[in-house]
Point group: C2
Chain length 434, copies 2
């Protein structure tokens, strides 16, 4: 089987490319070219046939993550969260369980949604190693590669794999000597521990070609994970993080050359004025690989409202070129999200992605903003509600609170600005732009 990248480079337009082109309102050739250059990846949900295009020139996508932990392990809850994420407009799902029967959870979660499902293979790997030996340093590389293949075979559509946290990267961290926020990547922290305790190179880096061969067999998209990502705005763009990014970008090129679809992950916690640098650096060094952004969070003190913190960072990162936004829920930094948190997280991330797209894609993304504005101007409530990003939510507001009477709402009542303006401007302004 050819990967989408190999097919594109051979000049072929696949079924997945046609499907992506239709969903994005672009030509199949546009998709093929992007995939061929590696600036676009096609993430395919094997269980449903759905294709999600991520990268340059297409709508910014939103990922929602679910999964168990040893403190809260309830497969049915995670499946409900997965379905809620899909219902509220997530484009991809990551199954990040770290407790329970992990093979079963993965298979059931994949079957419960139509979305492409991604994961982080190191979670299961270290989880089962800890369970068996009580020490993550006992992780056997052979078992790790077998596990990755099993996960691909189960239909995992994309994988965040920590290949760039290698001995070079660790040495940069050691030379730096300090980190405000420590290491906040589970996969990164555990792999670092493995390398230090065993005095060995990261097998995912050392045997990168072997990894690529596995992923290519299933056309599973490689997402180069961010094990050194900053978990504090004061750690943003520190040398340890940039060292890993540099290695990841080098690996992205190798993956592409080998015909494996690949994305590069971004942080984390980034101050507002470093988001542009952060995104551009990753895009530039990786040769334009699709960028999967974890927010970012532009401050560290927002816990309980971090879906909003992340929306600020995500809107900006999308505007600068991030292609896939991982949602952050109000539970971030405090515990596992519940169903309500998942909905809040998906909504905030979708809103942020749209805000970014109105800049990144211009006229291709802001048509509904224009439609909403004109409907508001004309006090046309049904048109107004219809074009919103969250029409059900807005409609419920208006209905439950009975906030609209005739054309006017309770915000201004009889002193409605739009209505007052109409008195004069009906003759003064034309209804359509000349």
């Amino acid at each position: 089987m050819m990967t989408e990248l190999e097919a594109a480079q051979a000049g072929k337009i696949t079924k997945a490319m046609l499907q992506a082109a239709e969903a994005e309102g672009v030509s199949p050739e546009f998709i093929r070219e992007g995939v061929s250059r590696g600036t676009l990846v096609l993430i395919k949900a094997r269980q449903s046939g759905r294709v999600v295009a991520v990268g340059e020139g297409v709508r910014t996508k939103v990922n929602a993550s679910i999964g168990t932990s040893s403190h809260l392990c309830d497969l049915e809850l995670e499946k409900r969260k997965a379905r809620l994420a899909e219902a509220h407009g997530a484009d991809t799902l990551m199954e990040l369980s770290a407790a329970g029967d992990l093979d079963r959870i993965r298979r059931e979660v994949i079957e419960s949604v139509g979305l492409p499902v991604g994961n982080v293979p190191l979670y299961q790997a270290f989880c089962e190693t800890l369970r068996e030996y009580g020490d993550p340093a006992r992780l056997d590389p052979e078992y790790l590669f077998e596990l990755i293949e099993r996960q691909c075979a189960d239909g995992i559509a994309f994988m965040a794999i920590h290949c760039g946290i290698n001995l070079f990267t660790l040495e940069r961290l050691r030379a730096q000597g300090y980190r405000y926020g420590g290491l906040v990547s589970k996969g990164g922290a555990l792999m670092a521990q493995w390398m230090v305790k065993n005095g060995r190179e990261n097998p995912l880096y050392e045997q990168f070609d072997r990894l690529l061969e596995i992923l290519k067999r299933y056309d599973t998209v490689l997402s180069l994970g961010n094990g050194m990502r900053a978990g504090a705005i004061h750690d943003s763009l520190d040398r340890a993080q940039v060292a890993e990014l540099l290695i990841n970008c080098e690996l992205a090129e190798r993956a592409r050359e080998a015909g494996c679809q690949v994305m590069v992950e971004g942080p984390g916690h980034v101050p507002l004025d470093e988001i542009e640098t952060s995104v551009r650096l990753a895009k530039k060094m990786s040769g334009g690989a699709p960028h999967y952004m974890l927010g970012p969070l532009p401050c560290d003190v927002g816990a309980s409202q971090d879906h909003i913190t992340a929306a600020v960072g995500a809107a900006l990162s999308a505007a600068y070129g991030a292609d896939l936004i991982c949602y952050v829920t109000p539970a971030e930094h405090l515990g596992l999200p519940n169903e309500e948190d998942v909905v809040a997280g998906v909504r905030a991330a979708r809103l942020a992605a749209h805000i970014g797209d109105t800049v990144k894609l211009r006229g291709r993304a802001d048509g509904r903003d224009r439609a909403v504005s004109k409907a508001r101007r004309d006090l046309n409530w049904s048109e107004h509600l219809r074009h919103l990003l969250f029409p059900e939510e807005a409609r419920r507001f208006v209905e439950e609170r009975k906030s609209v009477r005739g054309k006017r709402c309770s915000m201004c009542g009889d002193l409605c600005a739009l209505d007052q303006a109409q008195v004069v401007f009906r003759d003064f302004l034309s209804e359509e732009k000349r």
Copy 2:
């Protein structure tokens, strides 16, 4: 009585300046200089003595607006909303009622909070004119000036007044000939109607010196209102809006020269990549007058989640120099906010202001971010929660969901990244930055 501006220019350090300096952690001379230059205003709550500094070099402030409309007129509800806004950290309050006994509402709202209370005099003026004559064009300028003085005498600390929407501005709108979002400012739309129907200049522009004399008598801060503000991202920076801004900036200079404290208001709806231009233009043309930003909203389709839309715009506008952020609640564009909406709006705006301040004020604003990050790294939950922006909310989360056991939370459980990292990095990294 001297205004703070006059006192500062005379080299005096007033009680209000001392109070502002202490609250901001800067020297009294720093405050005096800023007030003297007009880059800082001191908004004073007469009923409580509280002083709020707004402008360059101090923390970005948050305004919450409350007020009745003819659809929803409940004074007790508005007072509860006002107190909630104060309790959740708003710095100023705007009392924007447009229905009921407006003198009584104003007086009772002022008495119910310790915050400086602002308003928009044109609301009451047009409201009462409509009630009496059924036509806003019958507004009597003499009554308007008397009303403004009465409101000042009642203790209104700052006033958004629509002086810049004059015949020149209206002509620019006519020449432009189109607006996607129409006019969304109540005061602006009503004053435009008044001018067009009467064929006369805006009395607030024509008799600007008279207005300044009234405001100076009470040291009420003038906030030059944005009657032409864009209510659609596609209208952002259109010529009608920039024309009014230009006039407002000219008037800001005149106010300053007359010894009247003054701010300039910004839009509205602004695409993400025009926020910098929007803020810098207002700051530059006004000679650095404090900038009061209404959000902005970087997209038009977010209704029901527009506190988040506005947080994105507000964080960016604060980073670029906006000094006072008007909150936007989830009810925006749909109806009057209820108590829950007020709390959500204040929280989102405070978070956005802080994100902006970590860029704008650097080390003076981001100390708590560093403290939170270090506490997280060290799995010190009590320190972590203590330094958050919303500690009660986060604590409730942790307690209600029992998400923390020992040092670990339900997010990662036994696979805690920070804990795993500590195993190795206790020796590897130093606890404090060298």
